[in-house]
Symmetry: C2
Subunit: 409 residues, 2 copies
């Protein structure tokens, strides 16, 4: 017997019929001899409906009150879910974030979980209840309602799994697992049986939006076994865990595509200390997030400095750079918002030389010019012209045989 | 400077525009130098929407979970109201029932308020905030969310006014006060400037549904000045208070009509101790509420016993009585569900003999036969055939000159 935390998203609890299907799955898990904690999101569309009401009042509504408002979405879901279980003769009790003391900091609309008091939940589990907890929400030390930001229900589930030493945290969603790449681009994309926390973090941040990234960090920190499965189909999904677990040893797990970035370059910056912060300081001050950063030392005492930002911030960043550039004696500013970033991710990369070389050759063979390169321990990212994005993904997926059974290391 | 509690019902907060109008009124009260606590109900239609979801799961949903569900309605309202005030530069903070410890018993869906911890509210008021509190809801000693039942927001407002020694508790609704009778029946019906708690209790229970009856009991118990006003018009409304206050001294305040009752009679019951409980015991056990009870001693050692019930319970009560009647050797059971109850209410009645006689004569002059009579200290009620109901009300309203300036005692 194990304790299982199951998290169901907004689509999975979007109608009374779907709530009944979730109840059926919970009861099946119970019949298999497990204790169950269910974490639910707001019914699909509800958060947007509430946000719409708030925005009729103010485009930037008061954060404390927005959290009071939005947290009702999950509260409706927990009540309906517990009601459904009860009416199917499965004892259940619902709890809001504040009722089970999901203590967070006071950063309204994007709070972070600090602590969970698991005693009440533990007592109910021992009493034979399924415990249904509202995702996405908590309470600060002053008793104010807080929310964790979009996707925060995943984090709630992982935090509960950690606090109560659950055997597994299962995230039910509308896809049946994590894929080697986007199946809409590469039909041969393969569902991965396992993936490491680190790989998942690299992939999530790069656009494979299956799980909220913070929940993966949390799972890694507290070593929570995390599984992504479909609410609508059967299947084992994808297990996200640490490398120590007995898992298939693959070199490359996946290839991701991100078309939401734009790139900016300052040319001919005098090459002296403080340049990077001189450029990026004003960008950060303007609340523009930067992703890749590349700097090459030039021969003539100047350097070119390139970075990428969200495409929505492109215009603002370009305007800002024109001013910064003038102040530091740089030659020119140029930018391009028609780019795509392709990344190859895999923990096996660490011990395998030549991955990057093989990647660059495969792209060159297709005539795809690389505009920018950046690497980490388990990732190689390249920027190419946007029009080559999908071709690049298909090329690499095939070059590294990601559609086939895992390559053993 | 006084502390004013203002309660706004579902219609008053039914749209963002109406919430803005409420905010305007709250700010006007503040500009007049008062501190304000706002109590709000769920937006019109919201409670029914939530109940509809619950009933798709189960016609009799789990009470604990129903309270978790329904309490979200008011939580949405407090958030929007506080947001609206904040965005109009009026500092405001919202609180759920559990956040300000509106402690209730654990009778889910019909809980009673036991205590309120006013410290947090007091601190916010001193800090210059308008405090917005969710009506209708509380929390039991175990931290479970409870609700007070329909109309419970009035009780929340009065309880807060009592706990914080407010100068006045204002109930904003869609009528502009308490009337001498239903203006739909008697166009000359007069709005009362003041009315006593006792009169209001008699009138509320008899069908003048302006205020939740429990809130009036609460106001009387803690001597809270209660005022009913319109959300949509200006005006002083009706002040409900104790007799000691300097108020117009009227003999009769109002006449009410209740068409929702049915009457049952057991004829020829052996006249011995225990008869009343022998008849009413089984009725109470069947959860049928009884209103008027009349018993006359007959000449032949038997008696006739008559009582009224809600018309919806008529059939069930009649079936039950047939069985009870057989067991106690009564002669027959008869009933009538086409009746109307007319009541004359007024504290002045206590010191004025002849009110009942004048009432009976006025009805007789119109040829209205009285089928049943029951009196209390400040009320005389008669039952007549349903078809005479409205005529009886008009007759009495005119006979006691209720459309004119108050008759001095």
């Amino acid at each position: 017997m194990a304790l299982i935390v199951q998290k169901y998203g907004g689509t999975s609890v979007g109608t009374i019929e779907r709530i009944a299907a979730v109840a059926e799955r919970v009861q099946r898990t119970r019949r298999a001899g497990h204790e169950v904690i269910v974490v639910v999101s707001a019914m699909a569309g509800e958060t947007d409906r509430l946000l719409g009401l708030a925005r009729q009042i103010n485009e930037q509504p008061n954060g404390r009150e927005l959290d009071v408002l939005l947290s009702t979405g999950e509260q409706v879901s927990i009540a309906l879910m517990a009601m459904m279980l009860e009416s199917r003769a499965c004892p259940a009790r619902s709890y809001t974030g504040s009722q089970v003391h999901i203590l967070t900091d006071s950063a309204h609309t994007k709070a972070r979980i600090l602590d969970i008091d698991g005693r009440r939940i533990r007592r109910d589990l021992e009493g034979g209840f399924v415990v249904v907890v509202a995702g996405f929400q908590g309470v600060d030390e002053h008793g104010n309602i807080t929310t964790l930001g979009r996707g925060g229900s995943d984090t709630t589930a992982v935090a509960l799994a950690a606090a109560l030493s659950a055997g597994e945290c299962q995230i039910y969603t509308d896809v049946d697992g994590v894929y080697s790449t986007d199946p809409r681009i590469v039909p041969q994309a393969r569902k991965l049986d396992t993936v490491t926390y680190e790989e998942m973090l690299e992939m999530a941040s790069l656009g494979a939006k299956v799980l909220q990234i913070r929940s993966v960090e949390f799972a890694q920190k507290y070593n929570v076994r995390l599984r992504v499965l479909s609410s609508f189909d059967e299947g084992e999904g994808t297990l996200i865990t640490s490398e120590d677990e007995d898992m298939e040893e693959v070199v490359i797990s996946g290839v991701t595509l991100n078309r939401n970035e734009a790139k900016l370059t300052i040319l001919g910056v005098p090459d002296r200390p403080g340049i990077a912060s001189g450029i990026l300081g004003p960008v950060a001050d303007a609340d523009i997030e930067v992703d890749m950063i590349v700097q090459n030392v030039g021969a003539d005492g100047t350097t070119d400095f390139t970075f990428t930002v969200n495409r929505t911030d492109y215009k603002a960043a370009l305007d800002l750079l024109q001013r910064v550039c003038a102040g530091m004696g740089a030659r020119a500013v140029e930018g391009d918002d028609r780019i795509a970033k392709i990344s190859l991710v895999g923990v096996g990369m660490r011990s395998h030389a030549g991955i990057a070389a093989k990647m660059f050759r495969a792209l060159a063979d297709e005539g795809i010019n690389i505009r920018m390169i950046s690497t980490s321990e388990i990732k190689v990212s390249v920027v190419v012209d946007e029009k080559y994005g999908e071709l690049a993904v298909r090329t690499l997926h095939s070059a590294f045989a990601l559609d086939q059974a895992p390559a053993k290391s």
